[in-house]
Amino acid sequence: MSHEMRRTRPGRRRMPLRVIAALLTLVALAFAAGCGSSDGDDAATGGAATGSGDARTQAAATPDGDAPAVGSPDDFVSIADVCGDEPITVGVADGYGANSWRKISRAEIEEEAGRCDAIEEVIYTDAQGSTQKAISDINGLVSQGADAIVVLPDAGPALIPAMRAAMRAGVKVSLLPADIGGKLGQDYVTAVYDSPESNGRTWAEWMVKVLRGRGDVVFLGGTPGNPASPLEAAGVREVFDRNPGMRLIAGPVDTNWDVAQTQRVMAGLLTKHPRIDGVISDYGGSTIGALRAFEAAGRPLVPIATNDFNELGCEWTARDGRDGRFELATVSSRPWLVRPALRHAVAAAAGKEDPEPSVIELPLFEDSTSSDARLAVQCDRALPPDAILSSQLDEAAMSKLFGG
């Protein structure tokens, strides 16, 4: 037997090398194709390409303990009501600062802080997409003497220990625009976010109205596994269940909140479904890809419900009054969510009670079917395509922000 083994060995020794090489190639390729062909770089997609989309990836369940107050933007208070007398320093820990949504958010929070005399300084940090830097930014803000910190938690639950340490050191932490599953009162004082179910219901109700209660609708979601899209889809289903003529025929379909991927996904849906009467999408920026797919397929555009995005508004405006126009409704992309988040943190630092809701149900911001001028579709070509016109900054502040 041992003789036999020795005899066959030389042949075998060459074989495993080639086998391993071939298998490695296959595995690597399989992996490469899986990750690369359509999903690209996760961090970059989450941060840069999707604009406001990144932070919404973590709209998680409500924290333990008492349920957070739900309300509309009408319930907001003025920062003067919650601003204390003792001078305080505010920190803003941004997870990824390089897109228009974040730029607007930063300007909004600085403007809001300017209205409270007790706030002596606003220290802004940008983690540039790095989890490690995001953690050390929060620690750094604490050691720089911040009394209140507003966190945009792109890095997700990895930030909870740093936030807990800050809270233990007596710093009041608030987050937006999502909850990352920490413990209310222990890891942060408030998580401010817009209710995904409410967004789904708002889009679906508009869709029912514009399609007169009868139609097949697709729902375009975001990255695979993001918690927000399924919750929004649940809101859509809730409304469609009450309207038997309405069907959600696909969704949430993953688009990575990316224009090019949305175009491909929509082209696929158009191939699969000969009839699509409406599109609901949870990111206005990538919805332009869906428009392209309809046009490339030579199919007439259908009503679209999503959130506001300058370029989408401009696409609507360019087609308004011509053949191939479409109906559009949006809820706000809410870059102003930093304001209530700041107020909650400042109130906590001043030992005051902030009566505002922390879970916001957004009303429609634009509605092309409405005759109400306040709901008119907006487009500003002087601003970047990914600018958010539902910002609470005024026109002058916006054009100053973008160097106009």
């Binding site: 036999e4 082209a267 990914d386």
Partner: protein
């Protein structure tokens, strides 16, 4: 009539035909004119970038700066058209200069300083990502209307992006096949010492592919910018792995040597149509990736068919030897007789 295909084309052509057949059965809608017209621009842009990658891989290199160059070209052409005095024309000129500089830098790092291509281009890519963020300030700009129209419109029914790809294919294929330049490029790719002995100025020919590749990437970046209208600041990242996958599917060995531009084109078509087919089937994302990964693995494995046959024969022989060593094992006489 007998169809004769160059040997390097057979594998990928077979895979593509198979994919088209599967598409016809599983989702015939993906083969309709309108579906093809929306698929082709993606294939065209991938083809242009992949041809650049092919040229580098032919020399045993790998250009990972493809992501950075595409993003940078898109950033310059969008931001530049808005802020530069000359508008689109000046921006395009700037893209050209940037591509030449990047290609030259990559080439010199690899050929002159002897840095491994993987490391050199990875470094360049990191630098380019930084430059893109500096140029754009992290905020994407809209592509000029003229460029968007060029990238989105069709000429006599053919998308302009496809026409651009056809021009690149024709130029590169013709250069490689019929020009002295191309022949020397291939010679250096096959063997540097042999090329040197044949009197080829090897160092120049080792730098050139990186320059040509950067030009291809930049052209792809400009078209992508026009096509997407407001490309994200990391738009090139989506092209990093697919360009390499296309090159490998096309049968170009990563160790360098001969390559076929036409095979690259077919592989790009294959990958894009596969994407579209899987999307049209409406599979969830996880399944999409599994199918894509498996199909590419099988595609590459099919090219290794002769190797697999070899392997099978050896295992069979080993099995038979093992069988002979143990005469107590019952053996069917028909098997032994048919084998002998």
């Amino acid at each position: 009539m007998r169809l004769r295909l160059a040997p390097e084309l057979r594998g990928v052509a077979f895979a593509l035909v198979l994919l088209v057949a599967v598409s016809a059965v599983a989702a015939s809608g993906t083969l309709r004119g309108s579906a093809l017209l929306s698929m082709l621009p993606f294939a065209a842009m991938l083809t242009i970038a992949a041809i650049g990658q092919t040229l580098v891989v032919q020399h045993g290199g790998l250009d990972l700066s493809v992501a950075g160059v595409i993003s940078l070209a898109a950033a310059i052409v969008t931001k530049g058209s808005q802020s530069l005095a000359g508008g689109l024309a000046v921006a395009l000129l700037l893209v050209l200069v940037a591509a030449l500089a990047i290609g030259l830098c990559n080439g010199l790092l690899v050929a002159r300083l002897g840095i491994t291509p993987l490391i050199a281009t990875l470094g360049t890519n990191a630098v380019l990502t930084g430059v893109v963020l500096t140029v754009t300030d992290g905020v994407p700009s809209a592509a000029p209307q003229a460029l968007a129209e060029i990238a989105l419109e069709r000429t006599v029914g053919v998308p302009n992006t496809v026409i651009a790809a056809l021009i690149v294919i024709a130029v590169v294929a013709a250069l490689l096949r019929w020009s002295v330049l191309g022949r020397r490029h291939v010679a250096v790719g096959v063997s540097v010492p042999a090329a040197r002995h044949a009197g080829v100025r090897v160092s120049t020919y080792r730098v050139a592919p990186y320059v040509a590749a950067a030009l291809c990437f930049a052209l792809a970046g400009v078209l992508i910018a026009g096509f997407q209208q407001s490309p994200g600041v990391a738009v090139g990242n989506d092209y990093l792995i697919p360009t390499v996958a296309v090159v490998v599917l096309a049968g170009t060995p990563l160790t360098g040597g001969r390559a076929s531009v036409l095979a690259t084109v077919l592989a790009a078509l294959f990958l894009t149509q596969l994407d579209q087919l899987v999307l049209a089937l409406g599979a969830p994302t996880a399944t999409q990736y599994l199918i894509q990964g498996a199909v590419i693995a099988v595609g590459v494995a099919a090219r290794e068919m002769s190797f697999l046959q070899n392997l099978g024969r050896r295992w069979w022989a080993a099995l038979r030897r093992a069988g002979r060593q143990r005469p107590s094992t019952p053996q069917s006489p028909t098997t032994t007789s048919s084998r002998q």
